[in-house]
């Protein structure tokens, strides 16, 4: 029972060398060694991107109108999209956080659909729904509201694609709030809004914040639905990913500059998400 091989069998994830081995062999680092190819595969392209662009060229290309316009359009549209996702997504998340029923399970699946749908499909779907000849868009056009080719279309594409990240995270956060705490607040005379505002939100804010950040980061990267539904017009609907795609074929420097910015921002967003979630753990 206490012989070295069986001890080894019992603790397969132990990184320390088995007692039977006199020196540290590669075996003691086996998980690090075996993890290296996947890690290298993820890191290499990112490293190549960063090393390809010098800080000087990054700064000089940052001042180009194409880049500035794309950054401005991206910031503006993603901030509006994230706000809309929070405002419209929170009620849906509250609904989903309640005990599961068959209807809720269906809604839950439908909410997830945009994350697995190819964004191009989302773009075509948005176009046939909200385009001028579309199901709803036709009615809006009669009222003088044209959505396709406007910044509103960019925002809608982003909300469609990025909302599941916030909704899922918020629903999990809401579900984790102890129902007895809410009942206690209700007994003390708190109404529904007060319970939500002073009990549920303070207890689930890390989930809300990290979900919001993930949605924002995903909106920032939205490409396929945007180019189909909103078209490509510099300063109006050309977001950073669109400028990268068009720039890749004509002005690689612009594409590289924007790629580095987007990568840095995405990395920062993920660090913030992990940071907020970690703060939640000690509680």
């Amino acid at each position: 029972m206490a012989s070295p091989p069986s001890r080894d069998m019992r603790r397969p994830f132990d990184v320390s060398p088995p007692a039977s081995l006199p020196v540290r062999s590669w075996y003691s680092y086996r998980w690090q060694v075996l993890a290296a190819p996947m890690l290298a595969f993820i890191l290499l392209p990112l490293l190549a991107l960063v090393t390809r662009v010098t800080p000087a060229s990054l700064l000089s290309h940052l001042r180009q109108p194409v880049v500035l316009q794309a950054v401005a359009v991206s910031l503006r549209t993603t901030l509006i999209a994230t706000l809309l996702i929070i405002v419209l997504g929170t009620p849906l998340a509250l609904f989903l956080s309640q005990p599961k029923t068959p209807l809720k399970r269906l809604v839950d699946t439908l909410t997830d659909l945009p994350t697995v749908l190819p964004p191009a499909v989302a773009g075509v779907a948005l176009l046939v729904a909200f385009g001028r000849q579309g199901m709803v868009g036709g009615l809006l056009a009669d009222l003088g509201l044209d959505i396709a080719f406007t910044q509103a279309a960019v925002v809608m594409a982003q909300v469609f694609i990025a909302s599941p990240f916030y909704i899922k995270s918020a629903a999990l956060g809401f579900a984790a709030v102890d129902s007895e705490t809410q009942q206690a607040a209700a007994l003390d005379g708190a109404n529904g809004w007060q319970i939500f505002r002073y009990v549920v939100v303070p207890l689930s804010w890390p989930a809300l914040l990290s979900g919001g950040l993930m949605s924002w980061a995903r909106a920032l990267g939205e490409f396929g639905a945007t180019i189909i539904f909103a078209g490509n017009f510099p300063g109006r609907t050309q977001t950073m990913p669109l400028a990268i795609y068009i720039g890749f074929e004509i002005n690689l420097d612009v594409a590289l500059t924007l790629s580095v910015i987007l990568m840095g921002v995405s990395f920062l967003a993920l660090i913030l998400v992990k940071g907020t979630l970690q703060r939640q753990l000690p509680d």
Partner: protein, 265 residues
């Protein structure tokens, strides 16, 4: 446990190395990089070519010419390159994938203005492109079709039949510069745009979408030549030459004409 994981790691590395190796070329396989506007015509030419060369496999890569040139410059394996314009063929020559003395023109094309069947903006003449509030969609200026569209709009301003500010007014009506000329066609047929400028060849056989067409007079039109060339280090040089010969032959030219291409002058 130990030997198994070591063997596993070795197998994974071996697989990665194997997939990295260039596959041996099939003796009768041909890879043709062709401009997006050639999609239907070249697909039919490919079928006809295969009839004359049994056992041949043709793989087409249809995309914007500038995209194909990027892929070629990055070393994408190909045997034939057919571009929608000379500029992108020059780019392929610069990246040394094509030899300049092997380039031949094989077809011509021209631009037309199209509008949706419902004609929401009431487009009747080319001059209407400057009407306030009209939604015009062009290909991006880096796509050959987009470059030609801008050339047409600029030339029109100098023409007696058009008002002086025509170019500016028409350009201010542009709501999107699409990354591909086919996307212009789609947005017009969907009725999202009031008008678009595409190649005559972008209209499918029989005009199933019922789009309206305004011809652009020759003097204002940009009559383009499509160049074709074999890729220099092609592993199927003979077959590549045979394919190009077939495109230039009467049967090949007839198929091109069916799809709206004009013969090489």
């Amino acid at each position: 446990m130990k030997p198994v994981s070591a063997i596993g790691a070795f197998l994974v590395c071996a697989c990665l190395l194997l997939t990295a190796c260039r596959p041996e070329p099939e003796p009768h396989s041909l890879t043709v990089f062709a401009a997006a506007s050639l999609t239907e015509a070249f697909t039919e030419i490919g079928e006809a070519f295969k009839d004359g060369h049994p056992g041949t496999e043709i793989t087409f890569n249809f995309a914007g010419s500038q995209q194909l040139v990027q892929q070629l410059a990055q070393g994408a394996p190909a045997d034939v390159f057919a571009s929608a314009n000379q500029a992108q063929m020059e780019a392929a020559i610069t990246s040394r994938r094509v030899s300049s003395n092997r380039v031949q023109a094989f077809a011509g094309n021209r631009l037309v203005v199209i509008y949706p069947a419902s004609n929401p903006a009431g487009l009747a003449r080319l001059q209407n492109l400057a009407n306030p509030g009209l939604k015009l969609v062009l290909a991006d200026k880096e796509v050959p079709a987009g470059d030609y569209s801008l050339q047409f709009l600029k030339k029109a301003s100098q023409d007696a039949g058009f008002e002086a500010g025509f170019t500016q007014k028409a350009l201010s009506n542009v709501v999107s510069y699409e990354e591909n000329v086919r996307a212009v066609y789609s947005k017009v047929t969907l009725g999202e745009a009031d008008a678009g400028i595409v190649y005559a060849t972008d209209l499918p056989k029989g005009n199933p979408d019922g789009v309206g067409v305004l011809e652009i007079p020759d003097a204002l039109n940009v009559n383009t030549e499509y160049p074709i060339a074999p890729i220099q280090e092609s592993l199927n040089a003979e077959l590549a030459d045979a394919f190009i010969d077939f495109v230039l032959s009467p049967p090949g030219q007839e198929i091109l004409a069916q799809y709206g291409f004009s013969p090489v002058p």
